[in-house]
């Protein structure tokens, strides 16, 4: 196994054991980190690797959460089936949005996705007979193949398994030729096209995969809160998603979860300070790019290097990543 793989499985092992002693509230937070981390994985694929910026991913997240919530609570579908349909819905809408969207460049793409995110919010509101509108829908604990995740600990394990599978999926496709083409495309779209790579197709694919992962995140998130309502899926959430991958470290799997942890834990730590946790968010977002573009993952790397003594595996410098993000999209 490579160093990265050993590291990965070690993290999973720790994540599986540590929560056994934790109080419910901490389990709830960790579960949220798992759900958000899955979203971050997809966003990292989209923005970090294929260079497209989306300010509307809360929309896909909402599609996942609502589809699974409605199918389980109103139509009585078993959770795995509802989850699969929700992810498929995310994929489908991702294609629908992606196909026209990838023609747009940089800021226009950002604005179009922003409009999409807000549009989803409006649709949820308009169909409040189905979605419950601002009063939302209560969600029953999910049951997978007879395993009823009806306690915070069990739900946590469900999310842990799902997140691990997603990481394996992403780790695998990152090595695939498709994604290497994606990265090539990010660095120079023109050159990639000249080499015969179907740039548009890859971009749409990246979009759809990230949408499906965001939807899966929503599917995992909904039972953790026990409730979905339209107020949760706003532009602010989309921005939170972007700040996740930026603060965590663009293009990095570990960074995805570090960013998710940042985004979940900071409001908790600053709970006594009212509005001011938003200032911390804002400052973090600014400071990352000004001082520490590698994000939190850069810290982890640094510590790892100090401990391990060996040079860290090559990872594309974050500034170059962020530079490309948006320039060529």
């Amino acid at each position: 196994m490579t160093r990265a793989q050993i590291f990965g499985w070690a993290v999973v092992a720790v994540a599986a054991v540590v929560p056994l002693g934790l109080a419910d509230y901490w389990l709830y937070l960790l579960t949220l980190i798992g759900a958000y981390g899955v979203v971050a994985l997809g966003l990292n694929l989209l923005t970090g690797l294929s260079g497209q910026i989306s300010l509307g991913h809360a929309g896909f997240f909402a599609i996942g959460a609502y589809t699974s919530a409605i199918l389980t609570s109103k139509y009585g579908l078993p959770y795995p089936a509802a989850a699969a349909l929700a992810v498929a819905a995310g994929w489908g809408v991702g294609l629908l949005v992606g196909i026209p969207a990838v023609r747009l460049q940089g800021l226009y793409l950002a604005i179009a996705t922003l409009a999409f995110g807000i549009g989803v919010e409006r649709v949820i509101y308009t169909f409040k007979g189905l979605t419950g509108g601002p009063y939302g829908l209560m969600i029953d604990p999910p049951a997978v193949l007879g395993f009823a995740a009806n306690s915070p600990l069990k739900l946590y394990y469900l999310v842990l398994v799902a997140a691990t599978l997603c990481v394996l999926f992403i780790a695998n496709i990152v090595r695939s030729s498709q994604v290497r083409m994606l990265v090539a495309m990010r660095d120079s779209e023109l050159a990639a096209a000249c080499m015969g790579i179907n740039v548009t197709r890859l971009k749409v694919l990246a979009f759809a995969i990230s949408a499906a992962l965001a939807a899966l995140g929503g599917v995992l998130y909904a039972p953790a809160i026990g409730f979905v309502s339209v107020e949760q899926f706003t532009l602010w959430l989309s921005i939170t998603f972007i700040s996740m991958i930026v603060v965590g470290g663009l293009g990095s799997i570990t960074g995805s979860f570090l960013g998710a942890a940042f985004v979940v834990i900071v409001p908790e730590l600053l709970r006594g300070f009212g509005a001011y946790y938003q200032i911390v968010y804002g400052l973090a977002m600014i400071l990352v790019f000004v001082f520490w573009p590698k994000g939190l993952v850069g810290f982890v790397d640094l510590i790892g290097r100090r401990i391990g003594g060996a040079p860290s595996p090559a990872r594309p410098p974050a500034i170059a990543l962020s530079k490309k993000a948006g320039e060529n999209s």
Partner: protein, 288 residues
């Protein structure tokens, strides 16, 4: 229906003004600032505090707001933007979003969440003309937006600094080569753009009452307008703003009024679908 058009022109002028500042900054420095609305709000608050503290005529307060806007814009450019200018689009989006949060919450921290009445610059008279009520507010807002748009365009076209500002986006490297001081010019762009935004804030505040949340929705509309009109085009921003205002107000005569705010998004989709660079945007040639 005619009343709807007048209302729409007035509302649209405000969007247009906000978008003008946004586009001005973006065109010259390639940064679309999501903090634009909050800078405008902060400037309006500062002017208001000065007005309350010193009791000077309100016009002075308006001027203070505009100056405050310029100063804030300069501070942002100098302290934050300059460092991430060359780091790509994601960096500038994230950083300006971060600034949005910082400034928004700073406003709440300093001035509190209270809602305060804000004096209207253009007074309160209403004229009836062919069955339509035109208030001095309507006229004032439209006229101001129009004048500022013309002033900006004239500035870019006919002054030396304007010429220099226009040169930068065309060829950044070349501009430096011929000796243009990019730093000073970027700062100038931000000062002017933010001051224009502050003016928009001063015009919006009497309608929404001065409060910390007042620029959230207008900023999104401004982005919609800017995208509609092409993020580089001042003409596009101005026309787009008026267009959106009128379309919104006219359409709701026929469709349920609560859909009014959704119209903007609907239009963005359509326009971007058909014309990926907006209605007036420039097509930029890519060098191979």
């Amino acid at each position: 229906m005619d009343q709807a058009v007048i209302n729409g022109l007035a509302e649209g002028s405000v969007y247009a003004l906000l978008a003008l500042g946004l586009v001005f900054i973006n065109r010259i420095t390639q940064v679309a600032t999501f903090a634009h609305g909050e800078v405008a709000a902060c400037a309006a608050f500062i002017g208001f505090s000065i007005f309350q503290a010193t009791g000077m005529p309100f016009v002075v307060a308006v001027l203070c707001s505009i100056v405050a806007g310029g100063v804030l814009g300069y501070a942002i450019e100098r302290i934050v933007i300059r460092r991430v200018q060359t780091s790509g689009l994601l960096a500038t989006i994230i950083v300006t979003l971060g600034l949005y949060f910082v400034i928004h919450n700073a406003i709440v921290a300093i001035w509190g969440p209270e809602v305060r009445p804000y004096p209207a610059i253009f007074g309160d008279t209403t004229v009836r003309f062919a069955g339509v009520a035109i208030s001095s507010q309507h006229i004032g807002v439209i006229a101001t937006a129009f004048l500022i748009a013309i002033a900006l365009a004239a500035y870019l076209r006919w002054t030396r600094t304007g010429l220099a500002l226009r040169a930068i986006p065309q060829n950044r490297y070349g501009a430096e080569v011929i000796g243009l001081n990019l730093r000073r010019l970027s700062a100038t762009a931000w000062i002017i753009g933010s001051a224009v935004g502050a003016m928009a804030g001063v015009l919006i505040a009497p309608l929404t009452f001065l409060n910390s949340n007042m620029m959230g929705a207008p900023l999104i509309k401004a982005f919609a307008v800017a995208a509609l009109g092409g993020l580089d085009s001042l003409v596009g921003a101005f026309v787009g703003g008026l267009l959106l205002g009128v379309i919104e107000n006219v359409m709701v005569v026929y469709i349920p009024t609560y859909l009014k705010d959704s119209i903007a998004f609907f239009f963005i989709f359509i326009v971007l679908l058909v014309q990926p660079k907006g209605l007036f945007g420039r097509v930029r040639m890519e060098k191979v």
